[in-house]
Structure formats: C-alpha cells, structure tokens
Symmetry: C2
Subunit: 197 residues, 2 copies
DNA sequence: TGTCAACTTTACACGGTGTCAAGTTATAGC
DNA sequence: GCTATAACTTGACACCGTGTAAAGTTGACA
C-alpha cells in the first residue's frame, strides 16, 4: 500500500482542512495546499492522484479526528424516540460546522466528479441512517405522525438536516448555531411527532 | 443598446434553456450552446460576454416566458394568511421544476462568479419577499406561532422552499411533484401556524 | 456602390488539473 | 563505505474550457 510517508500525508490533509476551513467559499487549489503543507505540488499528487481523492480523504480524516462515531453514540443510547431525535439532531447539527469547509468543496465537485459524488452520497447515506433510526424509535413509541409514511418521514428529516439548510440558516439568515439546533429540534418535532395517545 | 439581432439572441437563450433542461447535472459549455443554436461560439460571446451573463439572461427569459408574475398574483389575492401561504407554496413550488436546469447551473457558478452570485441572490430575495408577505398575512390573522420571531419564521419558510430541498425531495427521495407540494404545505403549517385563538 | 451590422473563422492567452521524466537526498541493507 | 530505494523536487507539458482579438464574409439598406 503505497501510502508514502504518512507524516507528509497527514500534513497534506491538515493543510487541506485548514485552508477549506478558513475559506469555504473560495476555490482552494492543489498548489495552495502544497504551499500550505510546505511541499511541492507534485508531492501532493504522489499521495492523492486526483483532487477529489484528496477531498474525500480529508473528510475521512476529519471523521477520525472528530470521532463522529462517539458523538452519535449518545443518540443511539437514547431511551425514547423523542430523546433519540433530539440527540441525533444535536450530534449531527453540531458536526456540520466542523466539516463545512470540506463538505462545501466536495459538494461543489459532485457534478463533475464521480468519486466526489459517491463519497458525498455515502456520507449522506450515513446521516440518513441516523434519521431512519430516530424515525423508527418514534414509531415504536407510537409517536410518529400518521400524515407521512415512514419513508417520507425519514426523507423529510433528512432533507431538513442538510448541510445546505444549515448553510442558509447560519449564513444568509445569520442564525446562531445554538438557535439553529433549537429551532431544528422544535421543527422536527412539529413535523414528525404526534401527541401521546 | 447593442443587442444585435434579437432573433439570434432568443435562439441562444432557447438553446441554453433546452440544454440545461435536458441535462441539469452535466456541464453545458458555451460551445454546446453555440452548436445547439446553430451559430459560432463567438457569436454567443457577441451577445453574452460571460457565461454568467448568459445564464442570468436565460433566467430572466424564463421568467418572461413562464409569466411568473401572473402565477404569484394568486397568492397576493388570497384573503387569509393560510390561503396566502398555500397559494405561495403552490406557485413557487411549481415554478421550481421549470427553472431547475438553469437554476442549478447558476447555483454552481455562485462561488466563482460575482455576477452569478448576485443574480441568484436577487432571485432568492424575491422568493423571500413572498415568504415575508405570507408570514405577515398569518401574523395579521393572529395565526403565527409564538415560538419564532417574525424574521425567523420568514427564514424558516424561505429555507424550506429552497431549490436544493426541492431537488433532494424530488431527486434523491423520489417524491412526486404533487406530493412535494402537499407535504411542504402541511409542513409549513405545522411549523408556522398556530390554532385559532 | 459602398457602408455597416451581424456573424464566421482562426488563433491565442490564461488558469487550473493532471502527467511525465529526470534529478536530489536521506536512510537502510549489505 | 557503497548502493539501492523511497520520498520528494524541479521543470516541462498536454488538456480543457473561458474569454479575447482580429481579419474575413455576407446581406441589407441608402
């Protein structure tokens, strides 16, 4: 497994992260990343043949560093469906800002690059599974609205929790992170949850 | 006003529309458009100096052709806030599929091109005004939820009605257009509307 | 007949990605 | 101590799409 020098590799990933974090809008080029990492542009290509590969690897790296699994554990541990819904929204909703820079870059490549598309799709699938688990838990408690099929409920929650929506609320609308979480939770309840029988 | 031959101009706009409509994902190049319009690539540049200009002009063209103003008239004519909310969601929600191709292209340029950014922002501002009017109407009727400030209510409705959300529901989730409208309406009510006093 | 506008043709600069090949350097194995 | 190799550097270049530039064609109109 030709992963060359792992230290260099990590420096590249760190640099990519830092640059995208600092400037999620502006286009970060391969040469920018190389400069930031203090190596030649070609060395970056030695580790990551395509730009998409680098972005994908960076998200995986962030997943490791941020230990997203541990964060989601709380939602899995929740007893009631409502608790699970809240915990999941909190875990994911607070993870978004940390991956936003990279996510935006990956999102922008989706239409041009197959690998980027699949990578993003995969991540979103994971989020969807979290939504599914929350909806299932609600359903078990008999608290899921009858207005939507289970699939529709998952679709709706999943859409609600999209990075784009977070971006719009926090960016264009100027909401605080705390308010975003708060309103999203309330919103999800109103949309999906029905009063106790 | 150097708008050259208006027939050619319209042919370019029509071609742009057709191509983007047919393939909203794939990148439509200036040369593709020229070929479709049966003219040289340079002739396109004679009418639209930048790609962004062309996309912006195409959205304006679509606005004219589709007569979006007339469609929104219904929501303006609504008596109650609830009616206004429904009518607006229906008008805008059903307009999205018609502009989706061009919208997606314009959206993709946002980060690179100032003009594209402003153009899209402007369109979204118009949508936001529709949201604002609906929220105001609800408020006048005393039916607006107390959980959100008026601005927050507008923000939320506006976000809910984003092209990205439509894209996700109809695309990834596979919803029908009718169901999208239906659920969005119900959803907006749950989020924003409170029972009569 | 000549002029002008609209368009064509050809060519090229630019920026960013990705490729190629030759050169350097540290280090590990013999 | 010599050499082979992995990791990286340097420099050049092809490719693609946008946008610019300039000279040539065509038809209409005056």
């Amino acid at each position: 497994m030709s992963r060359k020098n792992i230290e260099t590799r990590n420096r590249i990933l760190e640099s990519t992260w830092r640059l995208l974090e600092a400037d999620p809008g502006n286009k970060v080029r391969m040469s920018d990343i190389a400069k930031e990492a203090g190596i030649s542009r070609q060395a970056v290509y030695l580790h990551f043949p395509k730009r998409a590969d680098l972005l994908v690897a960076t998200t995986r790296y962030l997943d490791e560093v941020s230990d997203i699994d541990a964060r989601l554990a709380a939602s899995r541990a929740a007893k009631t469906g409502l608790e699970r819904l809240d915990a999941f929204i909190e875990a994911w909703g607070n993870y978004i800002p940390e991956i936003y820079g990279v996510a935006k870059a990956l999102l922008a490549m989706q239409d041009q690059d197959e690998a980027a598309y699949n990578a993003w799709q995969g991540r979103m699938q994971a989020v969807r599974e979290g939504c599914e688990a929350a909806v299932n838990a609600l359903d078990r408690d008999g608290r899921l609205t009858a207005d939507l099929s289970k699939k529709e409920a998952i679709d709706l929650l999943w859409t609600m929790l999209s990075v784009r929506n977070w971006e719009q609320m926090r960016g264009e609308c100027g909401w605080t992170q705390a308010r975003y979480i708060e309103v999203t939770k309330a919103f999800a309840r109103r949309a999906l949850v029905v009063d106790e029988a």
